[in-house]
Amino acid sequence: MVEHRPLTDFIAYAILTLGVFIVAFPVYLALIASTHDAATVVGGHMPATPGTQTLENYYRAIFVGGARTSREPVANMLINSFVSAIGIAVGKIFISILSAYAVVYFRFPFRKTAFWIIFITLMLPVEVRIYPTYKVVADLRLLDTYAGLILPLIASATGTLLFRQFFMTVPDELLEASRIDGAGPFRFFWDTLLPLSVTTMAALFVIQFIYGWNQYLWPLLITTQDSMQTIVIGIKKMLVATDELAEWQLAMATTVLAMLPPVAVVIFMQRLFVRGLVQTEK
């Protein structure tokens, strides 16, 4: 039972509002800063209302790039980030759904061992194996390529575990019915398991897209050309301006732009989540 009393309601709403304010205020500040000219932003007194430089700032950020430091325009960085984030998310789903399918549905020697090896890689994120990974990627001449940005990040123990757990809840009878209906292993996977996994894939896609989008260390290491920069790296570089003032208004505009794709992915995929939650198909 939830009781409704004016005082408790008031306290609850006050706490919620405070929480929203704490989370939202920096975002609001970035938004405001991206609409003023450089002098106003650096001046130390940030206005609370939007300025007049909106179009100018965003136009410069997206298509021209910064004036004082040699930098790529954001449009290019957005494309780089987008390609690698999509590549990482799709690649992870592809690899992990196949490996989970193998581990759950096939009896082969050292099946358990294979599963445990996958499980153990959870303890080895990119940061831990960064030197050998860099060496391999460099030897394969994948520096400054999309493949180099994507491939080392797509092996995913998390995804494999997630799909494994999901596959274990699919009743065995579905597999047996498929066998009697004349569906081989691939048909069963394609016709039955994949459609049932859509919501799990959507969940994984959201998580992995944001993971890929927010990658910092790896792209920083393997991209040397400005044309291959991702947006997260780009923001960082904008703030390093030797002997000059950083163009904060452009950096903020870039930040706002960098936030949009993950937000769009979450909003779009949320519909799939909700549909998955309402219709438990099992």
Partner: protein, 363 residues
């Protein structure tokens, strides 16, 4: 159409557990065979071996004159109805039924004809576009049946198909399954643990226990002449009363019966008792104290304990405490709790078994 023949079929699991210990039987063309037994007796395993979902470790399974031991389930020309229906949740009713046919590369027009025919028989016509989750339990059950029918297989296999339905629907579907099977005259094997389903559906009843066949035959024959005490207590509800024959008053009553010398256990069905004070020649009379009464309306069950109780021995498998006797009387009027009654069974109603319960004595 086809016979199904099992020859000394065995199943041993990797750990060494022997689930099926050599089973032989033959289901004739168009017959309805029911496998019945308590849970864990191996009946589902046996069915799944016929389907090809479990490997066969010994013996042969023959469907329509072809040994199928090494043949994939899809190529055995069988169709199976699962306990939880196993419908594809993301496919419409139509596609659920059509899926197996499409995998066989059947022409779409032929598929349509078959699915619509099955839908007509099963009254699913209005639901072909729905998803399984939008159907009730009974409708899902019918879709599962439809999926089997459209294949026009040699053999239908049913794995406890009614146990997820409520009692009323179960009876209705039981009748429907039987009618459908008669109409299509497709050889069928049906697994259940419900002895009532088994009795009402079967042409041939196979009673299983512990991975072995206890008795095979026509259901009424099995009811009237159970071969072992296990069958006697499993088939029939409430179960047959089984009493050990030791040197007590029952044995002396049987003095005139030629079978009594070899027998160690006496069985009497609850409905074969008559409550009377008259003496019977050749029969058995038991003095009972009524301890519980169940009034069902058309009939009444009396639970009594025998007087002059000698060292009791539990029936195998013991479903009643030693010395407890169930008596069925017609109607709702009968003795009260605590009353002493005399229950009498005629000599042709007595079932006599060897002392280990494995063999019926006499006929």
């Amino acid at each position: 159409m086809a016979n199904v023949t099992l020859r000394n079929v065995r199943k041993t699991y990797v750990g060494g557990f022997e689930a099926i210990k050599g089973i032989d039987f033959d289901v004739g063309d168009g017959q309805f065979c029911v496998l019945v037994g308590p849970s864990g007796c191996g009946k589902s395993t046996l069915l799944r071996m016929v389907a090809g979902l479990e490997t066969i470790t010994g013996g042969e399974i023959d469907i329509g004159g072809r040994v199928v031991n090494q043949i994939e389930p899809a190529d055995r020309d069988i169709a199976m109805v699962f306990q939880n229906y196993a419908l594809y949740p993301h496919m419409s009713v139509y596609n659920n039924m059509a899926y197996g046919l499409r995998n066989r590369r059947m022409a779409e027009a032929e598929i349509k004809t078959r699915v619509e025919e099955a839908a007509r028989i099963l009254e699913l016509g209005a639901m072909l576009d729905r998803k399984p989750r939008q159907l009730s339990g009974g409708q899902r059950q019918r879709v599962a049946m439809g999926r089997a029918i459209v294949r026009q297989p040699k053999v239908f296999l049913f794995d406890e198909p009614l146990s997820n339905l409520d009692a009323k629907l179960r009876i209705a579907m039981r009748v429907e399954i039987r009618k459908l099977q008669r109409r299509l005259s497709t050889t069928s094997i049906y697994v259940t643990h419900d002895q009532l389903e088994a009795m009402t559906l079967a042409d041939i009843l196979v009673v299983m226990n512990g991975g072995q066949v206890e008795q095979i035959g026509n259901p009424l024959d099995i009811y009237q002449k159970p071969a072992t005490t296990f069958v006697a207590s499993f088939i029939g509800a409430p179960p047959m009363n089984l009493m050990p024959l030791r040197s007590d008053e029952i044995k002396s009553q049987l003095a005139g019966d030629a079978r009594a010398n070899e027998a160690g256990i006496l069985g009497i069905r609850p409905e074969d008792f008559v409550i009377t004070n008259e003496t019977v020649s050749g029969g058995v009379a038991l003095g009972l104290t009524v301890e519980a009464i169940e009034r069902v309306g058309a009939e009444t069950f009396l639970y009594g304990t025998r007087q002059h109780e000698v060292q009791g021995v539990a029936a195998t498998p013991g479903e009643l405490p030693p010395g407890e006797i169930i008596v069925r009387i017609p109607g709702a009027v009968g003795p009260a709790i605590g009353e002493r009654i005399r229950a009498v069974a005629a000599s042709d109603k007595l079932h006599l078994f060897a002392a280990d319960g494995r063999k019926r004595v006499g006929c």
